[in-house]
Amino acid sequence: MHQSGADRLFEVEPLRSYLLNVLRNIQMSEGYISDEKISLLAKKYDVSNVEVEGVVTFYHFLHRKPTGRHVIYLNNSLTSVIKGYERVKESFERETGALMGSVDRTGTFGLFSTPCIGLSDQEPAALIDFYPFINLNAIKVKDIINSIKQGASPADICDYPADNIRYTPISGSVFFSDFKEGISLVNAFKLSPQEIIEELKKSQLAGRGGAFFPTWMKWDATRKQESTLKFIICNADEGEPGTFKDRVLINSQAASLIEGMIIGGYTAGASYGIIYLRGEYFWLAEKLNTRIQAYYQKGLLGKTIGGKDGFNFDLRIQMGAGAYVCGEETALLESMEGKRGEPRTKWFLPVEKGYLQMPTIINNVETFCAVARIFEKGLDNYCEKGIPGSPGTKIISVSGDCSLPGIYEIEWGMTVAELLELGEANDPYFIQVSGPSGECISMKEKYRRISMLDLLARKDIRCGGALTVYNSQRDLIMILSKYAEFFKHESCGICTPCRAGNYLIERKLDKLRNGLASREDLENIRSWANIMKASSRCGLGKTAPNSIILAMEKFAEYFYKRLYHTDNQHEGIVAFDMEAAISDYEKYKN
């Protein structure tokens, strides 16, 4: 087992921040976290057993029951389903002897499903002992399992995914051109922190995780906090199904990420940086850590960076353990502190009290990369791309029903139609922008531009990073059910509207799938979804019902067709499937 680079803490961090690492290590070496280990850890951290267990049960890569010597996580996201999940699953079950969700009798293989592992361009894909295996089919699975049975290590036989960078702007790429290491730092260090803020303001760079909060504001607010201890955190918990841009950036552009974070540290007066890498990307950790160590070697991390007196900056990786909600910045903070990844209230903002209650900047991978690029190539180079009010480029992960899934770095302002054409989507029907929590669009809207402008007018579309194409053969209700199911599992579970709301909406969609829904049911979905949007605690619950609300608006005819229709229905009688309702009892018919 290689070192993930997460195996040390900064001297300012409390022991508790190490808990998630310890748990991950136990999981990997022993296959599960036993009662004995929980008691042991509780003693070590001086907390009750139940507190440790609470953390363990929150993350889906941590198990309370043995998972076998080799753990297989097969992606069951929609893209995987489209590309042949069922057959691959059957093949895994046949070859390993383990049914989905269990361990085979010999304790060799554990087979589990997991939502989106960031490989949507190369589905069906699975992680075996956290190493990637892509473009799977029944035969491939057979070979892989046979090799492992004969003693091969997944680390040796795994199939590292291609970057699949399909398109960069003709005017030149911002993110994927050759990156000359150290230049961005030299240029940034010529400026005062205040001047860097001004540059960022001019660049109009906004949070690329999808919230598009102006980066300069966040940085400036942190800079102004009077604290000697501040943190720069990179949110690399890319969990939104269909998104894989951060994977490609970390794989191919780690240097720009590191430099972006160093510039953040210089600007805000922070001496520590942490990259929170999602558990699914464990296979990227070693490579990323090698880059970080190289920066230490060059004197660009550590003490007195680049000869800048008094500027110290340390960087480490923190591995996640499988929880979509940890992409929410305050949940991410909780997770880093070795707790359950439950979002905080907005009583304080992270820039005031973030990690360890200290001022903290949290930005997405792409944001930090963009910062480094702005200082590497100059503001003008960045601003001449894109459109007025939305300068620069955006990386979009395209997947689903298209011939060329992969990474598209587009200039802001490109239309959806152009992007679909580039990706060779032949029969696009339902397009999901920014993943399940984003927005769905129909082909009537294909000439909408992708930009940061105009959020409320709904003329342009903002895109956090994913564009998933579904063709006209796909069952729209099934897609939406799958989304609801995803959110039902991924909700942190502490606020009522999100925990219960996703569950309730999933039930309604079941009704719709079974052809028993009425117009009133559609009205209910709309109204309940709006309750969730208005009253949920964090972005997860607020955005979870987006797709369903918009789909009902934009695909009204489709929904109408799926309703219960009958001519001889009495007023006031609700559609009801009697046969299904007595099916259990009918089993006792002699």
């Binding site: 609470g54 909600v325 942190c492 569950y503 009688i573 009892y585 006792y588 002699n590």
Partner: protein, 423 residues
């Protein structure tokens, strides 16, 4: 002395100390904002239950996580917000398995109290009937996971003497529950254990042996509302309609007939009733078949078998107004306790595996003449459209009588807090 600021609640200017909690300030000034996870001196506030959702400076959000600041504009009693808060409480009822009549905390339960305050007669959501276990393992406590609303109060507030948590969330998403640490629980003093039970806004934490310590009428939330003007708004204006004779039908489906018994408790008003209504199909008259169309049909009990569904559909066809009477009819009630267990298991337990059965001779009854059991108990509203709901187990006689007079002759009435009950 802290700085005073002026805020506006529903258009009324209010002076308050800067930084105070909005729920507190509102309460001090006579505004009722329902809340469950909130209680004073909790810093930072929990913000989990979302019951106190208001509109603050134009944006919806919970009042409990807002610090009062100059110029804050707060909307509390707008219709959409009242409905939203109601819906969140309803969600808790449909998500958990809340059988009020059999709950130790009934009458002292914050959740139930809030539902009374918001006059929730039924939930707009289908009940989810998720199977949850009850944890009896700890020394003195019972964790009744069916009733937990995951408010986090116990997680944050109940600590052992050495500062360790006794309660903690487990799992996530719809599988979330609050786990208890047996070792730490054993260390709690008697007072600390009782405090844990009291801090729980529902009946999820029960100290063994502490049940029904107070009779009806003396429990915390039996008699008076937290709102000054509760029930002051009369329901529907009287049109002074002529009290002409109306035809009524009633049925008891999967219920216990308790609601029909309660109907008889109308007492001396029964004499008026006889003058004003004629009963058609009803167990009270033993008329088996509808002789004419009825003005109103009153349904007790939910649907547990296919015959219940047939009867209910016939009522819908033959009655102008259909009323769900009592908890079973509204959402399944006590018979729905079986809904978290597969039907096969229920039948096998009852007919094959029980102690009194002779395994060799026992069989699960099945005959074309006996009604077929449904996979689960359905609420009447899942089968036909229901026009009105009268909650209670059973509903009080005066509540029933007032509601029916209102429906049939548009008589004005207002429901008293003490009449509105689920147990």
């Amino acid at each position: 002395m802290a700085k005073m600021v002026t805020i506006e609640i529903d258009g009324l200017p209010i002076q308050a100390e800067e930084g105070q909690n909005l729920v507190y300030v509102a309460k001090e000034n006579g505004f009722f904002i329902p809340s469950l996870c909130y209680y004073e001196n909790m810093d930072p506030p929990l913000g989990t239950c979302r019951t106190c959702t208001c509109r603050i400076n134009g944006k919806p959000g919970p009042a409990c996580i807002e610090k009062v600041r100059e110029g804050m504009q707060v909307e509390v009693n707008k219709a959409d917000l009242v409905d939203m808060r109601k819906s969140i409480i309803e969600m808790m009822f449909s998500e958990g398995n809340h059988f009020c009549p059999s709950c130790e905390k009934s009458g002292n339960c914050d959740l139930q109290h809030m539902a009374y305050e918001l006059e929730i007669s039924h939930t707009r959501f289908p009940h989810l009937f998720k199977d949850r276990l009850i944890d009896y393992n700890s020394k003195r406590m019972v964790m009744e996971h069916n009733r937990c609303i995951k408010c986090r109060r116990c997680v944050e507030e109940v600590l052992s003497d050495d500062g360790k948590r006794v309660f903690m969330y487990m799992n996530r998403g719809n599988e979330t529950y609050v786990g208890i640490d047996y070792e730490q629980e054993a260390k709690l003093s008697k007072e600390q254990a009782l405090n844990a039970m009291n801090i729980c806004p529902t009946g999820a934490i029960i100290v063994k042996g502490k049940i029904f310590s107070k009779p009806f009428g003396q429990r915390a939330f039996d008699l008076s509302s937290s709102q000054k003007n509760y029930g002051k708004k009369p329901i529907k204006l009287s049109r002074g309609a002529v009290m002409e004779k109306k035809i009524v039908a009633t049925a008891s489906l999967a219920g216990c007939f308790g609601c029909h018994m309660s109907l008889l408790d109308v007492d001396t008003d029964l004499l008026d009733l006889i003058e004003l209504v004629e009963f058609n199909k009803s167990p009270l008259t033993d008329i088996k078949k509808f002789a004419h169309r009825c003005h109103i049909g009153i349904i007790e009990g939910g649907c547990s078998n296919d015959e219940n569904i047939e009867v209910l559909r016939e009522f819908r066809e033959k009655c102008d107004i259909l009323v769900s009477l009592g908890e079973c009819s509204i959402w399944g009630g006590l018979p729905a306790m079986r809904n978290t267990v597969p039907l096969g298991e229920c039948l096998e337990e009852a007919y094959l595996n029980s102690f009194t059965n002779d395994p060799a001779k026992s069989t699960i009854p099945y005959h074309e003449d006996i009604p077929k059991l449904l996979n689960r108990v359905f609420a009447c509203s899942e089968i036909v459209k229901i026009d009105y709901y009268i909650p209670g187990c059973p509903p009080s006689a005066s509540h029933i009588w007032k509601a029916i007079k209102n429906l049939l002759w548009h008589e004005e009435y207002s429901i008293l807090y003490s009449e509105f009950k689920y147990d």
